[in-house]
Amino acid sequence: MSASASKKRHLLGEHPGPSTYVDDALYDRLLKISAQWSEAGLAVPASQAATVTALLNQECRLLDGGRFEEWLNLFVEHCIYWIPSDVVPQDPRREITWELQDRRRLEDRVARIRTGHAFSQIPPTRTRHCLSNIEIWAVGADELRVRTNLTIHTYRKGKQQTLPCMGGYVLQRQAEDDWLIELKQINLIDADQAQGNISFFL
């Protein structure tokens, strides 16, 4: 488990401060990262792979358990959660997405669910986030990229669904062997098609 993550930094419901990190440089970076998922770099050493895999397993486990505040703690302060609405993700400045959230709005999403009146999640969508084909490589000393096949099985109101996705993660080093998530990008297999209730966290 990430050491940084275990320090709880956010209480939802506080008045969140301004969000200034979502600028053109960030959008440019997102586009560049997005285009790079098609090639994996040199695999990291096994021990690092184990650390990273543990982090992602935890991420999935927290989501599946509905522990969204703890889940948010796995992300760096200046994080992005991105679900493009096209199969080849376009520049989110010029095309709408399913979701492109900064930390503040991720917290809004969690806070909404916690009001007890988020009817689209009453009852909640049950999920099982399954990772496979995990490829991990370093970009510089303090950044890791993780490309996965993320298969999300869901159940709600008598209906079971499978959402096959590419799950792309960018991790930032917090300490020697301690990483947090900067970016979680989810490419739905049918990103450009009609979606049902996707008001849970993918």
């Binding site: 008045h15 979502v22 959008y27 010029r94 709408i96 806070a111 669910i113 009001t115």
Partner: protein
């Protein structure tokens, strides 16, 4: 055989079925649940009214095309080589194959993959391989695609109708034309450009979406999570907080027109002070706000930022075009209990990039924070109306209220009035009652002009 209730029993016996199911104060559940009624809607409503198909900016250039459904029929919305717009039936004139298999693209012609009959983007036959074997076909128009006979663009919004006797679009729009123009003219001539068309599939009848569009009663309750979260995290008096309390005492109102159109006007509250200031924060808000202020100065930045939030109007243009905030909605019925709702996001040409970037993030707010709960309620209605013994959907709110004001172009009513629904279903009833025969056979006769 499966008649359950007294009312249903009665309905089977009465002459005016449509008079029975649409009553001034209530709608019969079968209007939302009966597969036969749905089939008739595809002919009598979607085969008769002006149906919204798409926006010109989706096919900006000659030879562009996208595919859509037109009351369930697969169609291709094209801009031909001369720039003219067509709505072609995606159905080969030979043995019926869909000729276009892509969702969108640009091409000089569609070549049917089965026997290579080909068509230009006007639907005209380009070639039929070994055509000699068809000498008996007297008209060369025999080889054309059928198409929606009347297609028009109202200021970028493309409508089509299968009804040769439909009025011109301007007459059809009637009183809603004025708020529609307002919506379009918000940017001092800056052109609206569609930037993405995400779609939601919902397990409910399409009319729950249009009913909801004119429903000023629901926001305080259906969107309670959004309102609570907003006030918890961002304080009172933020976006939509004006739907709380006795909203009928607010400055908002609905206005209803001929031909089933209506709109809800939230602007008197939303833009009373700064809508931008009241807006839940978008990703990048403070950065781009600072950027704009430093580039354009405080005041011009303020003016511009007001264009990054929604328009404050909910328009319903019968039967399937909705305008909500900055987004265009196309309501696309698939089955009696299955509907696609397309949310066209919009940018505005000539506005600064920063504003358009902020608009993208604004337009991602309500679908994920608000609409999802409405959809949940539509689906819950579809389920609830499965019960045969409880037959009526109420639409009597502020029925015959003295607060209704007949204005020159329409009737103005309190914001929670169901007059919007009553307006919609009056037109719906008129069309369902009529006998509609669609005859496109003339398109295959005579000479290609």
């Amino acid at each position: 055989m499966s008649v359950t209730t007294l009312a249903e029993h009665k309905r089977n016996d009465i002459a005016d079925k449509w008079g029975f199911v649409v009553h001034p104060s209530r709608i019969h559940r079968s209007v939302y649940t009966d597969g036969d009624i749905f089939k008739r809607e595809m002919v009598n409503i979607f085969g008769s009214a002006w149906v919204f198909v798409g926006h010109e900016s989706e096919i900006p250039n000659a030879n562009d095309f996208i595919t859509r459904r037109f009351g369930g029929r697969p169609v291709i919305l094209t801009r031909d080589s001369t720039g003219e717009i067509h709505v072609l039936f995606n159905r080969c004139a030979h043995k019926g194959a869909k000729v276009c298999r892509a969702d969108r693209g640009s091409t000089k012609m569609f070549v049917c993959p089965y026997h290579a009959w080909s068509y230009n983007l006007s639907g005209r036959s380009v070639s039929v391989p070994l055509r000699d074997a068809y000498r008996h076909h007297r008209s060369s128009r025999r080889y054309n695609l059928l198409q929606v006979p009347r297609v028009t663009s109202y200021r970028g919004f493309i409508f089509g109708t299968l009804n040769s006797e439909a009025p011109e679009i301007e007459a059809y729009l009637a009183g809603v034309r004025s708020p529609f123009d307002d919506w379009i003219d918000r940017y001092d001539g800056g052109a609206i450009v569609v930037t993405g068309t995400p779609r939601y599939r919902i397990a409910a009848n399409w009319k729950f979406v249009t009913d909801n569009q004119g429903d000023g009663y629901h926001p305080a309750y259906s969107h309670l999570s959004l309102l609570s979260m907003t006030s918890q995290r961002y304080g009172a008096d933020r976006d939509m907080s004006y739907f709380g309390g006795n909203v009928d005492e607010s400055r908002m109102f609905v206005k209803c027109f001929d031909n089933g159109h209506f709109y809800v006007d939230q602007r008197p509250e939303m833009f009373a002070d700064s809508a931008w200031a009241a807006q839940r924060p978008q990703p990048g808000r403070e950065h781009y706000e600072a950027e704009l202020q430093s580039r354009y100065g405080e005041q011009e930045a303020k003016r511009l930022l007001e264009l990054a939030v929604g328009a404050g109007m909910n328009l319903n243009i019968f039967p399937n075009l909705l305008l909500i905030g900055n987004q265009i909605q196309l309501v696309d019925p698939i089955a009696v209990d299955k509907t696609d709702v397309w949310w066209f996001a919009t940018s505005v040409a000539d506005l600064p990039d920063e504003i358009n970037t902020l608009r993208m993030r604004t337009q991602e707010d309500f679908p994920m924070f608000g609409e999802v709960d409405d959809v949940e309620n539509f689906e819950a209605c579809q389920e609830g109306l499965g019960i045969k013994e409880d037959e009526w959907v109420d639409c009597s709110r502020h029925l015959n209220s003295p607060t209704e004001v007949q204005e020159q172009d329409g009737i103005r009513a309190l914001v929670t009035s169901d007059l919007t629904m009553r307006t919609f279903y009056r037109e719906w009833q008129r069309l369902m009652r009529s006998e509609v025969r669609i005859d496109l056979s003339n398109q295959r006769q005579g000479k290609n002009g």
